[in-house]
């Protein structure tokens, strides 16, 4: 009887919804041969909340709190992107001061998102100390952003045509104190982690994404820049005030990045420094003036048509496709979220690696699951 039950030697393992390294409720159905992965199929939908269904049944203003709950690590960026998309549809232009304030807050939000990724990724690989340091810095950023937005994670700070409140002197003073402090800390992280032999062995040449694979699976953001492609929405398709700010697009050591986990780590760490530079320049160039455009209706009703807006969120290219029929409720609002396509490359990265490498690859892709399930 025993002979009959023993089939081929692969078995199914659920790296399932409740797993510390999936950063949310993502389920990986792995077919394993011992510890080596034969096949991986991500199963999604465990945190599907119907954002796009809500977008179709609510007016633009009532949908305002939803974008930041899709990607709660870069909540302010989603809020910013949503307002920019509706402004493009309605043909409104935010005053320059408001645009600069939005860019400052968006870049601070990018830093807090990368810090959380850094802490959580090192926690997945077994190092507990960077998690504590990274969260300590992240709390500084959250208290700075909380100074004017009032919330820590789910911001509804931008309005159609401007921002809700003006910058307070305390905000500017806190930011100016925070920038050198984080620069020192980033050097500490560099020495603590980048040259750590265990970290290098776990991430070097693991989960390599080639340029063709990145194009086939439309991977964007730091994962794409780690493959050596200098694609950054803020530079290739400049929006808001980014043309006036001098920053460079970080790719892993020039254009010959191999696109492995270590390069993705390096790209994100340098992006934090770039964001600090952007915040510094934006603070210097902050113009005086109003923070809300005059005469913008509280409940906008964009003219009929289809509009698209592409924004560079912390995880990659965030696209909003808006179809409006002139009423206050959109016909369709499609959110092209970066983590969706960043995850779709996993089934071809994992076969042949060990289960422990899954944790390293999954962490390096920096996924936020409600952004995938929407």
């Amino acid at each position: 009887m025993l002979r009959k039950t023993l089939t081929d030697d692969t078995f199914y393992l659920n790296m399932g919804p409740q797993h510390p390294s999936t950063h949310g409720v993502l389920r990986l159905l792995l077919r394993l041969d011992g510890e080596r992965i034969v096949e991986c199929e991500p199963v999604l939908g465990y945190s599907h909340r119907g954002h796009e269904h809500m977008a179709q049944t609510r007016s633009y203003l009532r949908f305002m709190p939803n974008p930041c709950r899709m990607d709660y690590l870069a909540g302010l960026m989603y809020n910013h992107a949503y307002c920019l998309a509706v402004e493009r549809a309605c043909g409104i232009e935010a005053p320059p001061r408001a645009q600069f304030i939005r860019v400052i807050c968006a870049e601070l939000n990018r830093i807090s998102s990368h810090l959380l990724w850094f802490g959580a990724y090192l926690l997945d690989l077994g190092g507990f100390t960077p998690f504590l340091y990274a969260f300590d810095d992240r709390e500084d950023v959250l208290s700075i952003l909380g100074e004017i937005t009032g919330s820590r994670l789910t911001y509804s700070y931008c309005r159609f045509g401007g921002v809700a409140r003006d910058l307070t002197p305390k905000f500017i003073e806190l930011t100016k104190a925070f920038i050198p402090k984080l620069r020192v800390r980033l050097k500490d992280y560099d020495t603590l982690v980048s040259k750590n032999v265990i970290f290098i062995n776990r991430t070097k040449d693991v989960g390599v994404i080639t340029k063709e694979q990145a194009r086939d699976y439309s991977v964007t953001g730091p994962n794409l820049r780690a493959c050596g492609v200098p694609h950054d929405q803020r530079r290739c398709e400049p929006y808001s005030v980014y043309p006036e700010i001098d920053f460079e697009v970080i790719t892993a050591d020039g254009a010959n990045g191999e696109g492995d986990c270590y390069d993705r780590y390096l790209v994100r760490m340098q992006e934090m420094e770039e964001s600090l530079r952007i915040v510094e320049q934006a603070l210097q160039r902050l113009p005086e003036g109003p923070i809300r455009a005059k005469g913008v209706a509280q409940e906008p009703a964009p003219p009929p048509g289809a509009y698209q807006y592409c924004y560079e969120s912390a995880r990659g290219m965030l696209g909003i496709y808006l179809v409006s029929d002139g009423s206050r409720v959109p016909v369709r609002m499609k959110w092209r979220t970066p983590s969706f396509s960043n995850l779709s490359i996993l089934p071809i990265l994992l076969p042949g690696t060990l289960v422990a490498d899954t944790v390293a690859i999954l962490g390096s892709l920096d996924l936020v699951i409600p952004e995938i399930d929407r």
């Binding site: 039950t5 078995f11 659920n14 399932g16 797993h19 389920r27 041969d33 510890e35």
Partner: protein, 121 residues
């Protein structure tokens, strides 16, 4: 049964008894004073919240078995070191070389396994 032998066996008996009692008290305590969960899916093996697919009786890589075998060799090796340590000291140099010889020969098993590639996963 000469009396001094009897007391020796008595010590062994007491030692066994105390060991047994020392082991069962926590188990008994746990059964008596803690509430018992009566959930339906309590006894399913935990697999991040899902119901495991297939059963565990499958063939899997031989490397796990070989790895355990190499550990076993050294486990038994330590077993024999105990009496050697007890009798240690009459001729210190001779005993030291004896132990090194014993452990050396056994560690050849590791070298053999290493060359055969048992440790490549």
């Amino acid at each position: 049964m000469p009396p001094h032998l009897l007391t020796d066996y008595l010590f062994v008996l007491v030692f066994l008894l105390v060991g047994f009692v020392f082991a069962t008290i926590p188990v008994l305590l746990a059964v008596l004073i803690t509430p018992r969960g009566t959930g339906l899916k309590k006894l399913i093996s935990y697999e991040s919240g899902m119901i495991p697919i297939g059963q565990a009786w499958i063939q899997f890589g031989v490397s796990y078995y070989l790895f355990a075998l190499v550990f076993l060799a050294f486990d038994v090796d330590v077993l024999y070191l105990f009496p050697a340590l007890v009798a240690y000291g009459s001729f210190p140099w001779r005993d030291l070389i004896g132990i090194f010889l014993f452990v050396g020969i056994l560690s050849l098993a590791i070298v053999y396994a290493w060359c055969k590639g048992v440790f490549e996963w």
